[in-house]
Symmetry: C2
Subunit: 302 residues, 2 copies
């Protein structure tokens, strides 16, 4: 039996260690780095970097420093998006990962800049590690790294996450169709999750068959992840989740439960996880962590 | 005699055309792209992309599509920084480039996201053009492009522009020494100006002697540019500048005029321009546009 808890603990501590190393390397003014550190080192699930590393290992790669740092860049982008989404002008949230949100702990200006810094930092880390990987192992790695940087930029920009957040905000108070809701979530949450798995698969030098299967896997777990997020906002325990629940209903957000009801939403998430598992069914046990993570996504309570 | 006006008109229309092409290429939701388009197509000086192209031509390069797009990426980063700096939580400005600021024309959430989108977009454009340049001309271009992407990320992140903005905000109401003020401005304005010239010089395949000279040139015009900005905030015509003047004093900002007085600030700017011109004195007339731009920086009225 694959032991997911140990696996997640190991990966998370690897990622947290690498993030600390990266931060230690830079000496900006105390205040901006304090805010970056505060938000980045809060106890997140580290789902995106874990998926990135798991995908790299699934296709048979050893995860060296460069891939781990690329995984950290994905967490930086995720964290910046949380900081900005929490701002008063956006979702106006006070609590995140069990602590006051960045603008509550510091102030609004610092939170905006900390988000900007994390986003910029992600591309710095990516390009620096691309350069160092190529210097060590040769220019045959080039296409992969440039592909990954482009994919991450597209997935987190206005063809991905930012567009999803804009749609989310502007659809508050209106009722979306299930198709529109899925489109919004595919952009808002799905795009960066897909990019995380793609990053691991490409930097891990996966073959086309593996990468194709992982695309289907990632698309499905991305949707399932968001459905469960919506369900937890209704049913979850704020203490376990580290954030306020019920916010979606207060803000009149379109969610799976609001459109399908709780039970049908749970079924829907299970179906997506089934599709994800099906897509990687024929691969060897290097894929076991990804199988376990897929199951964890619907079983999670935060 | 070198005709700067015609030169700037030509370059600006080249840059504006390329920005339009880039924007047309992407089909995000109307609202976020409207805000991006609104801020990006406002009549800016286009100083950073002009400097990038002028530096590439100075070192003897023809400026093809990829360099022009890299120049546009620099303008995207500059525009994002203006959008975020203008936000109520930061400088709270209503007017920019002669029009209502992004959050006034749209709303705060849209302005935050439009800034985020432009920053992300810049790295997308850079990595896409790196890939296309290398595909066309070979991997020998690789080191240059990766160097440029790293430099732009560093200059605009918390080792550059963002750190400068943080220092600017947190020093409001306190009095800085001239040295501290220069440090702040070197980060806030200088870093991206330096990166713009470096981008042109490296992508234009300049030699070490040229690049070294351009570093000194760019450092000096970066400082001079900011000193003149401070002077214009006191003496400038809001109609010509397209933004409110006097804001620095109202916000108790540290500026060159507040520390040195107007006359000494003007002298200081002239000395910096003298140093910039000195650094590129021995080069041929390919450097004439850069010479003219240096003089334009202290002569400008907006």
């Amino acid at each position: 039996m694959f032991d997911l808890k140990t696996y997640l603990d190991t990966k998370r501590s690897q990622i947290n260690g690498a993030i600390k190393d990266i931060l230690r390397h830079y000496t900006a003014s105390s205040r901006i780095m304090e805010a970056v550190d505060y938000s980045l080192m809060a106890s997140g699930k580290r789902l995106r970097p874990v998926l990135c590393l798991a995908a790299a290992e699934a296709v048979g790669a050893k995860t060296g420093k460069e891939i781990i740092h690329a995984a950290c860049a994905l967490e930086m982008i995720h964290t910046y998006s949380l900081i900005h989404d929490d701002l008063p002008a956006m979702d106006n949230d006070d609590l995140r990962r069990g602590k006051p949100t960045c603008h509550m702990a510091f102030d609004e200006a610092t939170a905006i800049l900390a988000g900007d810094a994390l986003l910029t930092f992600a591309f710095q880390v990516l390009s620096e590690n691309a350069a160092s990987a190529i210097e060590q192992s040769g220019t045959h790695l080039l296409t992969g790294w440039l592909d990954v940087i482009q994919t991450i930029a597209r997935s987190s920009g206005c063809q991905g996450m930012i567009e999803g957040q804009m749609l989310d905000i502007s659809s508050e108070g209106t009722t979306l169709t299930l198709e529109e809701l899925e489109h919004m979530h595919t952009l808002k949450t799905g795009a960066l999750i897909e990019a995380s798995i793609y990053t691991g698969a490409v930097l891990g030098k996966g073959n086309i068959k593996q990468i194709q299967a992982l695309k289907i896997y990632s698309k499905n777990i991305g949707i399932a992840f968001q459905v469960v997020d919506d369900i937890l906002d209704v049913e979850g325990d704020p203490v376990v989740m580290g954030k306020t629940s019920g916010g979606d209903r207060i803000r009149n957000k379109n969610t799976y439960p609001s459109l399908l009801g709780i039970e049908k939403s749970k079924e829907f998430a299970k179906l997506r996880i089934g599709d994800a598992l099906q897509a990687i069914n024929f691969f060897d046990n290097n894929f076991d962590p990804l199988r376990a993570v897929a199951n964890y996504i619907i079983g999670r309570n935060r």
